[in-house]
Symmetry: D2
Subunit: 258 residues, 4 copies
Amino acid sequence: MNAMNDARAPRTALCHYTTDAVYYGDADLVRDLLGQASFIDVFMKQTFGRVPSAGERRIVDAVLVTLMEHGMTPSAIATRMIYASSPENLQAGVAAGLLAVASRFVGTMEPAAQLLGRIAASEDAAAQAARVAQDYRARREAVPGFGHHLHKPDDPRAIALLALAREVGTYGPYCEALGHLAAAVDVAAGRHITINATGAIAALLGDIGIPTALMRGFAVLSRAAGLISHIAEEQRDPSGRFIWSLVDEAMTDIPSVG
Amino acid sequence: MNAMNDARAPRTALCHYTTDAVYYGDADLVRDLLGQASFIDVFMKQTFGRVPSAGERRIVDAVLVTLMEHGMTPSAIATRMIYASSPENLQAGVAAGLLAVASRFVGTMEPAAQLLGRIAASEDAAAQAARVAQDYRARREAVPGFGHHLHKPDDPRAIALLALAREVGTYGPYCEALGHLAAAVDVAAGRHITINATGAIAALLGDIGIPTALMRGFAVLSRAAGLISHIAEEQRDPSGRFIWSLVDEAMTDIPSVG
Amino acid sequence: MNAMNDARAPRTALCHYTTDAVYYGDADLVRDLLGQASFIDVFMKQTFGRVPSAGERRIVDAVLVTLMEHGMTPSAIATRMIYASSPENLQAGVAAGLLAVASRFVGTMEPAAQLLGRIAASEDAAAQAARVAQDYRARREAVPGFGHHLHKPDDPRAIALLALAREVGTYGPYCEALGHLAAAVDVAAGRHITINATGAIAALLGDIGIPTALMRGFAVLSRAAGLISHIAEEQRDPSGRFIWSLVDEAMTDIPSVG
Amino acid sequence: MNAMNDARAPRTALCHYTTDAVYYGDADLVRDLLGQASFIDVFMKQTFGRVPSAGERRIVDAVLVTLMEHGMTPSAIATRMIYASSPENLQAGVAAGLLAVASRFVGTMEPAAQLLGRIAASEDAAAQAARVAQDYRARREAVPGFGHHLHKPDDPRAIALLALAREVGTYGPYCEALGHLAAAVDVAAGRHITINATGAIAALLGDIGIPTALMRGFAVLSRAAGLISHIAEEQRDPSGRFIWSLVDEAMTDIPSVG
């Protein structure tokens, strides 16, 4: 294969240059975007192909704000450890912390969205939701998007996010599927189970047309912002050596006879 | 040392929790932020301690939009290579690409900002600018923030960014220092040298109070957004195997006798 | 919970210090290891709790040598792109490339090892192997550890690795299970399917007692070495700008009217 | 430029393939290396172009063993935080921890090697060493390769490494330069300053011909091995949630009125 001659070679339409202009897609960066378009609108256009409506933008902002910050989590600790070791490389601290945006924390957003999509697409959404809830119950697994170790009986973020979707008019099949599933989960469990923020975000993003495979991108973008805040705080009040000592003292096993 | 009892232990004020609320600083996430505050305003508040004015926000948006996308750069190629190898881990693709936000590309933003700060702080800014330009000329080094391999005689992004700063009223000592330095660089070189986008961004961010050590954070946040766009395009039209073949065929040295 | 007082707190036994000695486990680094123990033996002791026998060490060396280098793969391209962007940070180039050691390339080692373990543990290994092969065939999926796009009918590395296991005497239940599975895969497919290097490595490592969940560690260690070789070559003959231009020219879509 | 036709295109000589063989350089992987060559010898050949002598190999092993493990350092903590968040991605945990192999820890190896190289190349090594020591003293900076917060008056690892170089016969101009510099540092300080392990390693590697720009590669390879040990321990006795709680409780600032 000669890759250069392959008419089917993949192309990028994200950006091209001339000597006196830069284009993002077919928009002239200087003439059409700088000073006029917001960062989030350009991000949405480049990633999803269209600028969000005013209501959708409020959903996007709310989702990004919710995912930004969770305190001294493993992600933030990793960022601070690497930044303290490599303060000339702010980007390395952020990159390390982003690697925590994986299965254990936001990873449930994708299976939650898939479940909601299946429920939304079925003829009898309530019946499909009941089957899903019973299946998970039978396997003794948590339903993705449900449960929280701290926020009980309800996660205030999930309630606020769903209320916002109603307010701005994007509440649609995914949010409705979440309602059906929440009712079915409570029945299957015999008690009330929290809809967590991740579950609500999956529903809101599904209803504004975000593909499941890109939902994690919102978590990554938002955590990048949050981790930069941690580095800013680290610059003012360094914690690197403190955390190192704290963990080392708590965990290093000194044999009684060295 | 018992770290737990150390009154001087570093603290984080970025986030704390109760069972029914989440706080970002002293703001209640649900009551004060969700549906009301934009992602960028919350990021700025968490990182720099205050919400930007409307004019400052246009500067921040313009800077982030400018840094977002530069086509098939090493950063984007690294992201696509890792995403193609690990499509279950969008975050790993972004993390890999962010590691390119280093000395060679945006790294000149920090020395440019330091130069501008020194010129702005001197009693005779024009004379200080002349000394800086002559020093670099004598060492045959490019002045940080100046020169571009493609955009000549002027980088349209730099011109637009500086015009925006005048328009919104943030044009201040850093931008003025850049003007002095540009004049001095042309005199020292005996010809016109481009102010590049990085130089203009350093000036604009300096004038809205961003510390030099955090300027790279804007590049990291913006590139995170841009790299997510590349992954979105990669999902629609995969390039991983194409790039692999292209590079392998061009570079692998097959000895004539194996 | 006060973590400091928790008797059940996890401990590390990997390393502790006094003012005049460093201990790796209960070995004195200076007295017991330096100048006496090889890197690989210390790695194996620290990771798996025992020094390998001479035969096992040949297996470990052979596995690490096999996994080290595969030319201009996505992993190597990512490393070179990041190193070219951040030459002050060799570690960032290696870290980026290691993120490619994931599902698409070595990721099949783990499911292959799980299959082999199940077959080895069954009363009738041949019958169990036949069931596995038929199941994958029915789902039209490749059996982990089988198939190669280039090395047909046989992967010379797999043959050599299995021969080595016989030679050094570690050929055991995992290698035998691989033999059963290979026979069953050929029957199910109605033609000969290659045992690939990853499949053979899974068998060899299983037979020397490496837990499945740590097998990827060998790929990570070995690729770290290989990626350092790529950086060494990059220092002598830089390819960063070449690859950038090559990919950019091949993929950037320039509209006919700018 | 058409990159494909460029005769000056960079080439890789590290690896090439045919359908029935894999070559590392001009060595046939199966025929020449598997079962015969050790991992370290192949790494050295691929990276530096030649197999080490038996004495050099003891130096390489000793250096790699020394750099492998330092307990619950920022590097190990970052690895454990990411692995706990992303246990399906061992490689991400290692990649995160490797990003700590930067300026603060092993970063002094490179300036130490440069100093030793300059001293070794000067006509009067003792006089050059004295000038270097006085310069650093005058600037009140630590000389790279000297000083340790714990190991005083001497770092037992440095002493053992230098003794090993004498024993195996690689003690040469770099080690001699370190001797001159150590004497000069003590004179300039008016007291004995420790030669640390990093300083000794720089000298040993310099004397076996390792270029300064690749010395960090040894730290990266060795830390990759050490971080895999931490993940192995984490699999047996998980610390992720413990460290998270420990740090969160110690650092989260709960305002008296929520």
